[in-house]
Assembly symmetry: C2
Homo-oligomer: 330 residues x 2
């Protein structure tokens, strides 16, 4: 197991982060030890609102969390600027949201925390407060000291996917596809599967772009011109990349056990099968950083914040994957 | 139940059609009554090759199949030109392959068969013999007398999908998307869900094209410019079309029970979730024809023809769906 606890950030205090943190701690017998960086008053009030009888215990340093985790939820106090109301995000608290992330990164970099697990943030709220990054992942890469190219991996028990293109229109995704881009993602993924998942010789299944992977050029040439050359490059480097495979049969129960990660060409090619297979337990892991970081694969869900309706299963899966990755890294 | 048997075509005699037909008959207690249009000698030889003790009984008219189906596999003899070797397709038998389809359609049109179920054909083999249609579906539409616009529906127990674009590159699929095209597919699907599936007021879930359904135009404008206008048109006609929905959460276990069919924008958007959910029992149904037609959702699989390895589950699902659709049509 991990020698130090996981650092869990508060996320947007008006979102479901508090709800799922409290509910995850109630299932602490299936969670690795963690502490949350959050405002102790707001989390205590939230527990009362949800009728959850949870002892919340302030700590001074992460090491204390290892001892008290079984009897209380350890919290490293991060004061909010204004009281938080569930479902009503307030830009005045953006600084505290970001500070929790910065502190988590500092603690993992100094070896006091085993990994960073982040609760959902709202980019719109942060942009209103001057945040300059496209998202959580890029902010973490910046805090990691630059130079790191982060790769988002989405994973459930049966499937890991990485994406050659992410949050762009489908038309732009096709235009952005490149042999170099695919190779870069594949190399980072390959290294992470070895280091963070202890897979000695990872198999990467590379999806085609077009129906039936283009059927020899009859339905699109990207497989021939872009994807197959990338696979040859990778194979020449000793990376076990295979494909390009017809996308529609890459995620069947027969195909899934034959590879360690699927490299998908666009957002929905990877996220449709992942969410179809396991919507509630999806985890987002950031590969290529100098530290381990995971998060639940859902947003702030302002509409149900403070109601207790949000499922804690994705956060629990994220905590466990972070602990496994940190243990593999050693 | 259906008053007349289903007509099952031979498909390419060098493919797995014979294998799965024989194996489906062995599970006849979970199949509706059917007869196969095939060469009696080749099917008898195949049964011997597979060590299957199956009485194969020639019939003169489909009505006889209803009586003998429980004790023998009824066959309407369609002679091959040359003996068929599993895995070795021969253009000399293309005429017999097509004749089986033509006879099945004639029998369903004259009311002697309840529906047409087709075994897989090889377009390449048929093209070599002068076949002029893009595929099975278009040939059936032609035999139906023209005017019919066929719509391919793929279905498993949990999900039905129809496609706004099919066998074209992803780039061309985006270029071909149109409000009119989406409306046409939706109207045919809506009518078929009422007539063939006895759903009084079918709900059509229309997928977006882009990640997160474009997020208000931030990641592509097709939702705003093409898809949402189609949904408004359809709603004005009294069709319960909803969307455009983010594609990645449209096929979760929570979402699936909320609609009767998903209208997808491109091949893999529909086929990835379908095959991920249930690879072995997928059924291809052709909507918009004057008769019911289904087929297993796989190809000729020449590489395993004659080995008995091919799964009969998709064919059994296709037979049962055809019987249900024919019964609903009355």
């Amino acid at each position: 197991m991990i020698p130090s606890p996981l650092a869990l950030t508060m996320g947007d205090p008006a979102g479901v982060g508090g709800d799922i943190t409290l509910k995850a701690w109630l299932k602490r017998d299936v969670c690795p030890p963690f502490f949350v960086i959050d405002d102790i008053e707001r989390l205590t009030a939230l527990a009362a609102r949800l009728n959850l009888n949870i002892p919340i215990h302030a700590i001074d340093s992460p090491a204390q969390a290892m001892d008290i985790f079984t009897t209380a939820l350890p919290i490293l106090h991060q004061p909010l600027a204004v009281p938080s109301i569930p479902g009503k995000p307030d830009a005045a608290n953006a600084r505290a949201t970001l500070a929790a992330i910065e502190r988590a990164v500092a603690l993992v970099q100094s070896g006091q925390a085993a990994a960073v697990v982040t609760n959902p943030i709202s980019k719109d709220v942060l942009y209103g407060a001057g945040f300059k990054f496209p998202g959580h992942t890029e902010f973490l890469a910046h805090l990691a000291g630059g130079g790191a190219q982060p790769v988002m991996m989405l994973a459930c028990e049966k499937l890991r996917v990485v994406l050659a293109t992410v949050h762009v229109s489908l038309k732009d995704a096709i235009a952005q596809l490149s042999t170099d881009g695919i190779c870069t993602i594949a190399r980072i993924t390959h290294a992470a599967l070895k280091r963070d998942f202890a897979i000695a010789d990872p198999v990467l299944a590379v999806a085609g772009l077009n129906p039936h992977a283009g059927e020899g050029g009859a339905m699109g040439r990207e497989e021939i011109d872009i994807i197959a050359p990338a696979i040859r490059h990778l194979q020449n480097e000793g990376i076990n990349a295979q494909g390009p495979y017809p996308p529609d049969t890459l995620f069947t129960s027969k195909a899934l056990p034959t590879y360690d990660a699927a490299l998908c060409m666009y957002h929905d090619q990877g996220l449709i099968p992942l969410k179809t297979l396991d919507f509630e337990r999806g985890v987002n892991a950031t590969l290529g950083l100098p530290f381990v970081r995971t998060s639940p694969d859902h947003g702030t869900a302002f509409d149900i914040a403070g109601t207790g309706k949000a499922s804690e299963l994705s956060l629990i899966a994220a905590l466990n994957m972070a602990a496994q990755m940190a243990a593999a890294r050693g």
